[in-house]
């Protein structure tokens, strides 16, 4: 029993180490635009228990840093640039995100 638990922990842990970053075709793909210092839309929806990819397109002339403590991601997106963050499968709930360079710019990912 202890051996089985140890093996499953090691396999799960290794999977966590190597498998969290690559986007896959099964991901829920979401689009977010930064326009005039605001996320559009300010609220995103996604299904629970499925990995999520959010592509952020920055139309502004200033860089943004997409950041979320509860989603545990951060990414700097250059002015007029685009970037993607991949998020693990989430349980239902509301997850805040913001632009760390402009903290008044905030949004929410609603998972249900």
């Amino acid at each position: 029993m202890l051996k089985q638990l140890s093996v499953s922990f090691v396999i799960g842990f290794a999977a966590c180490l190597v498998g969290a970053n690559a986007a896959s075709a099964q991901d829920t793909a979401l689009q977010l635009t930064v326009q005039n210092g605001r996320f559009e839309p300010a609220e995103l929806q996604a299904p629970a228990n499925k990995a999520i990819s959010i592509t952020i397109k920055n139309n502004d002339a200033k860089s943004v840093e997409f950041e979320s403590v509860s989603l545990r991601v951060e990414k700097v997106i250059a002015a007029k640039g685009q970037g993607t963050v991949r998020i693990r499968a989430l349980s239902p709930g509301r997850y805040e995100f913001m632009d760390d360079f402009n903290q008044k710019n905030r949004g929410t990912l609603v998972v249900q």
Binding site: C16, A20, V73, S91, G93
Partner: protein, 300 residues
């Protein structure tokens, strides 16, 4: 009738009202909090010596200088510090790694069983692996488990040359009592260590710890709190022979003074303790009378 006869039943309406009031207050507080700029916060460092469950953001790196000072023995003058020069990295959304060198400082004069010493030196290395087991909102209580091997070339307490290996295992749990404002945390600690002393003998010991803390954000960037930490010390790696215990209580502080910089501080005093072999009021053989922590970190 039953309400008067059954103590459990009479207590229940009061408890329900209290829970309902607390929930309403917490909900109102959460809405008010958001409007005042109280958004999500990393919980790892807001509880003083007690650690929260946070593991940072994927890809985030942090460098910090983290000093713990221990002050006061039964007699003489005693001050000892250990500083971690810590690099912290979160490679994905589940784990966090930390490592770095240690420096030790000792200022000891006239303490029974310890040599007088006044020295600061590089003293060892540490590594830490943290794994997030449960997270909010899937679980109301977020839990992280951590493993921290440490090598020391100088004794933590007395500063003499030794060969010391420690392996701290810790369960760190926290909960949001009021969303984005009031947090509680608890740590469960098992810390075995083995030390080869000057004579060549290996001494084995272990420590059990149970700590609890509350932290309240008075401002979006500032959290203050209180913690109580209880430790039991044993000879042997697996709690073989109990030698004494101690209870520390004190305030905590967390201040994010720039977008990517923060400091965390705590001070504890031993308020109760016992040594098995003596009738002394505090345990000052294995613990100090007071201890303090100061961590300054920059994220990049």
């Amino acid at each position: 009738m039953a309400l008067h006869d059954d103590r459990g039943v009479t207590a229940r309406p009061g408890a329900l009202v209290a829970v309902a009031l607390w929930w309403m207050a917490a909900s109102a507080h959460a809405e008010e909090s958001a409007s005042k700029g109280f958004y999500e916060i990393e919980t790892k460092y807001i509880f003083g010596f007690t650690e929260g469950s946070g593991i940072g953001l994927e890809g985030e790196k942090e460098f910090s200088v983290d000093t713990i000072g221990r002050f006061g023995k039964r007699d003489g003058r005693y001050a000892a510090t250990e500083t971690k020069f810590e690099f912290e990295y979160t490679p994905n959304q589940y784990i966090q790694v930390e490592f770095g060198p240690l420096a030790a400082g000792h200022n000891i004069r006239g303490v029974t069983d310890l040599d007088d010493r006044h020295a600061i030196t590089l003293s060892g290395f540490f590594g830490e692996l943290r794994y997030l087991v449960f997270d909010r909102p899937a679980s109301p209580i977020a839990v992280t488990v951590s493993f921290e091997p440490v090598y020391r070339a100088f004794d933590e307490t007395g500063g003499e040359r030794v060969e010391n290996y420690e392996f701290e295992t810790k369960l760190q749990a926290d909960v949001e009592l009021i969303k984005n404002r009031l947090y509680a945390a608890a740590n469960l600690i098992y810390e075995p260590e083995t030390t080869r002393v000057m004579s060549g003998d290996w001494e084995k010991e272990s420590k059990f710890g149970l700590t609890g803390a509350l932290s309240y954000r008075v401002l979006p960037e500032l959290a203050i709190g209180v913690e109580a930490d209880y430790y039991r010390h044993y000879d042997g790696l697996l709690f073989d022979t109990f030698t004494g215990d101690a209870l520390f209580i004190g305030p905590t502080l967390y201040y994010k003074f720039a977008r990517k910089m923060f400091l965390a501080a705590a001070w504890n005093a031993q308020v109760w303790g016992r040594e098995v072999e003596t009738s002394n009021r505090f345990n000052l053989a294995e613990f100090s009378r007071q201890r303090a922590k100061l961590k300054v970190a920059v994220e990049f």
